[in-house]
Amino acid sequence: MITLTINGTAHPLDIDPATPLLWALRDTVGLTGTKFGCGIAQCGACTVHLDGNAIRSCITPVSAAQGKAITTIEGVNTPVAQAVQIAWTQLDVVQCGYCQSGQMMSAIDLLNKNKQPSDDQIDTAMAGNICRCNTYVRIRAAIKAAARALA
């Protein structure tokens, strides 16, 4: 039995400790906002926060997430997260939308740690998140808009 604390709620799960957190979230707990894109930490679609840091849930075994605070896109509610979601909405960033949970989770992590990121800092922080619809110019603009709103 492994107990995961997801968005503030404890979930005792009867799963193999090697199961990646991504699949525990999606298949066992039923939180499908976190997406599968590559399974090898290359695309960022599966990004969640573990004790406040962005991680790739597809390569994180549940055993490593036990005892830590897991936050998924369904559970974000801080002022930074709200600013990010508002900016994403106002700029109509999304196209297919499949990468966007991961994009927003990375953006929230960036803004949590750097209130006014420079253009280069944004590009570097977001380089691990692929968007095949190539919404990158809008993601950049939305991160800046969120930073401005929070200033």
């Binding site: 894109g37 090898i40 909405t89 297919c96 619809c133 110019v137 950049r140």
Partner: protein, 730 residues
């Protein structure tokens, strides 16, 4: 209004059904522009086809709660069709944008065909183009019935009823919402003729309205195939053969079956399916399989060998796609002749959401949930496999996490794979077929590998007088349901588009084609033939301009006199980019390209900077687009930005290669795609104002960037590149 005649509307059918008291107005409009309608009998003649009259069929639903639901017949895969089609209805209905909801149409070719195809499906950047009048008529008819109901209730003339932003009103002060009048409107007779607006009266079309799918997608509420959960559903992964053309001989599944949660292992035509309680268990089960493959029929070639075969083939004339004037004779007298050969690799679509499909097979019915893109063809393929009728195939079309052509598979590959698992299991249980990234990348259905030879003859002034272009590559359409319509006289239109319709005025033009066959499955990939043809044409014309010592824009202008829409985007992009200003300076370069695909015209100017280590970055891209009436300018901008980025990704690093028949790439570490640091800092989009009927924007932004970029590199370095992807150091 001239757009109406262009759509050649041959008939209209209006279907109404009242779904009981309080259900409000449900209005369907079937408007066909196809001349080959089998059914010419008006559907609303009840004596002929009473059952059709009551067939649930709707584009517009107005409910007493004042919501307006627009039923969308096209797949939303990111291109913004939910927003675009809803805008057309809302415009003619004079609805408030806020009250509009969208819903995906069920699979029903009678009601929801793509009017350009006569079958339900999304592709060829045709969603707005084929439904422009249909959706507007749907809105206008609903509006007329609401007006009639209001006029009756208030005892005034219909002409005196004013409609604006979802409210009906009269000078006397009376007013009502759509919802208040929905039930009464449903009882009104369906008007035979409903005029649509003069474009000068548009107040929603042409505005940047917020996307209808944004709230769901920002708040993780959008449901993709990947997210479907049904009672007792099982998850399946399939072990595919390591080479195209290989088949399963036998499999030892004893270890796989020991894993708790692995419930079934079944052989299907495309491999071995492991069916388990969840993804991770299915994956562990699949990893434990010990298969034996029969590779006697498998392809063992490398990409280099295929390319060499193609080069040899190109020594012989191909099937003629176009032949104007006399190229052979003209070359003899040309002042100068320039020739080149070009290479393009296989490309994977690499949609963010790998292919997947949920299927539930029950007696006399099969229900599916997935990002369906050619519902009618999928229904036919499934019906054949399952021995059902197409009507017994129920498709729930979900959001797709990208497609770029992939989900419209003419062989219904991943859909049939899911159905084959369900068929082999013969349970009533829903099965979710998931592909990993590796499965997706190695499954084929690539943009074909192409080899081109091109030759131009120039006159004394450096202008081209003869142009000969030979293309070698697999036919995408041969053997598919599209073959009869789109392969003419042995020429697959998708192989030569963008080359055989060369816009440049060159009196002697010859384009021919070889379509060799290979066991590598191929498919359309965002902008299809233009992905390679635009690169060849637009880099080669640029080379001719520099050979003639002429400015590339001026050179193109001189040859585009008969193509005003090409010219307009070319000029607009050049002007906005500051083309005529002084050169960008040391280690910088600027290049241009112009191309039409799917009746949309796009020009792009790319600016590059060379770095000390010989690598380069794309700093700025200026895009001009003419897509007729701009229904939603922001969606158009987004598609231009994203389409350009998709093309840039392929230009910089897109390559699937075969070695001994095996696909060398497997995931994003060895099939690199564009990431944020490579996206140009500045992407500007300018839309040509136009009253022409709207055309699509999903694809036309894609093929233009590679030649614009290569031309910019040539401008900076003097070096030209004849193969994609471009080298990292130039």
């Amino acid at each position: 209004m001239k757009t109406e005649t262009k759509f050649n509307i041959s008939r209209r059918h209006f279907l109404v059904s009242t779904l009981g008291a309080g259900a409000g107005l449900t209005l369907g409009v079937y408007l066909s522009g196809c001349s080959n309608d089998k059914d010419k009998a008006p559907l609303n003649t009840s004596s002929h086809q009473p059952q059709t009259l009551f067939e649930p069929n709707a584009f517009v639903r107005i409910r007493p709660d004042n919501s307006v639901t627009v039923v969308i017949k096209h797949l939303e895969m990111g291109q913004g069709t939910y927003t675009g089609l809803a805008t057309l209805v809302a415009e003619e209905l004079d609805a408030a944008w806020d009250q509009i909801k969208v819903e995906s149409a069920p699979a029903n070719a009678k009601l929801y065909s793509n009017l350009f195809w006569g079958a339900q499906g999304t592709g060829g950047s045709s969603a707005i183009a084929n439904s422009y009048m249909q959706m507007r008529q749907a809105g206008a008819t609903a509006r007329a019935m609401l007006v009639a109901a209001a006029a009756k209730r208030w005892n005034v003339k219909p002409a005196e009823v004013h409609v604006s932003a979802g409210k009906l009103s009269h000078a006397s002060g009376k007013s009502a919402s759509f919802g208040e009048l929905a039930e009464a409107a449903a009882k009104e007779p369906i008007p035979a003729e409903v005029p649509v607006k003069d474009p000068k009266d548009f107040h929603l079309i042409g505005q940047t309205l917020p996307r209808k799918d944004t709230p769901d997608k920002v708040h993780a509420k959008a449901i993709y195939t990947q997210d479907i959960k049904l009672p007792a559903m099982l998850t399946a992964l399939v072990l595919h053969p390591p080479r195209f053309g290989a088949r399963l001989q036998s499999v030892d599944d004893s270890e796989a079956k020991k894993i708790p949660g692995v419930q079934h292992v079944v052989m299907i035509p495309t491999g071995v399916a492991v069916v388990a309680t969840d993804f991770w268990t299915a994956k562990r089960g699949r990893d434990a399989l010990k298969p034996q493959w029969d590779e006697s029929q498998a392809l063992r070639k490398s990409s280099e060998q295929i390319r060499e075969d193609y080069r040899q083939l190109a020594e012989k004339p191909g099937t003629v796609a176009v032949n104007n004037g006399d190229t052979t004779a003209t070359f003899k007298h040309a002042a100068k002749t320039i020739s080149a050969e070009y290479d393009f690799p296989f490309l994977a679509h690499a949609t963010m959401e790998p292919m997947n499909c949920v299927v539930q097979l029950q007696p006399n019915q099969c229900e599916l949930w997935y990002g369906a893109q050619i519902q009618t063809m999928d229904q036919m393929a499934l019906a054949k496999l399952l021995n059902l009728t197409p009507e017994q195939i129920k498709i729930n079309t979900l959001y797709a996490g990208g497609s770029f052509g992939r989900r419209a598979n003419p062989q219904s590959d991943y859909v049939l794979e899911a159905a084959n698992i369900a068929k082999a299991l013969n349970l009533n249980t829903p099965i979710k077929l998931l592909w990993t990234r590796e499965d997706d990348m190695r499954a084929g259905f690539y943009r074909p590998l192409y080899y081109h030879q091109i030759k131009a003859g120039l006159d004394k002034t450096g202008m081209p007088v003869a142009w000969q272009h030979r293309i070698v590559g697999q036919s995408i359409l041969a053997g598919t349901g599209f073959e009869s319509a789109m392969v003419k006289n042995g020429v697959d239109a998708t192989s030569v588009e963008g080359a055989s319709n060369l816009p440049y005025h060159i009196a002697n033009l010859h384009v021919d084609l070889h379509s060799p066959t290979l066991p590598v499955p191929v498919q359309w990939w965002r902008s299809v033939g233009s992905t390679h043809n635009a690169y060849v044409v637009e880099t080669f014309i640029d080379q001719l301009a520099s050979t003639a010592k002429q400015d590339p824009v001026a050179y193109r202008r001189a040859l585009l006199k008969d193509h005003p829409r090409h010219l307009a985007v070319l000029n607009l992009a050049a002007e906005k980019a500051g083309w005529d200003n002084k050169p960008l300076g040391k280690d910088r370069g600027r290049g241009i390209a112009v191309h039409e695909s799917f009746n949309t015209f796009v020009a792009q100017v790319a600016e590059v900077t060379l770095h000390a280590d010989k690598t380069f970055s794309v700093d700025r891209v200026v895009i001009a687009v003419d897509c007729g009436v701009a229904v939603n300018p922001d969606v158009i901008r987004a598609q231009m930005e994203g389409g350009m980025g998709y093309g840039l990704s392929a230009a910089l690093s897109g390559k699937i290669s075969l070695r001994d028949g095996q696909v060398e790439q497997s995931n994003f570490h060895d099939y690199p795609v564009l990431r944020m640091p490579q996206m140009p800092t500045s992407v500007e989009v300018y839309i040509v104002p136009s009253a022409e009927p709207p055309t699509g924007v999903g694809e036309p932004g894609t093929p233009v960037i590679a030649p614009a970029l290569a031309n910019a590199i040539a401008n900076a370095t003097g070096k030209r590149y004849y193969a994609l992807p471009l080298p990292t150091a130039v």
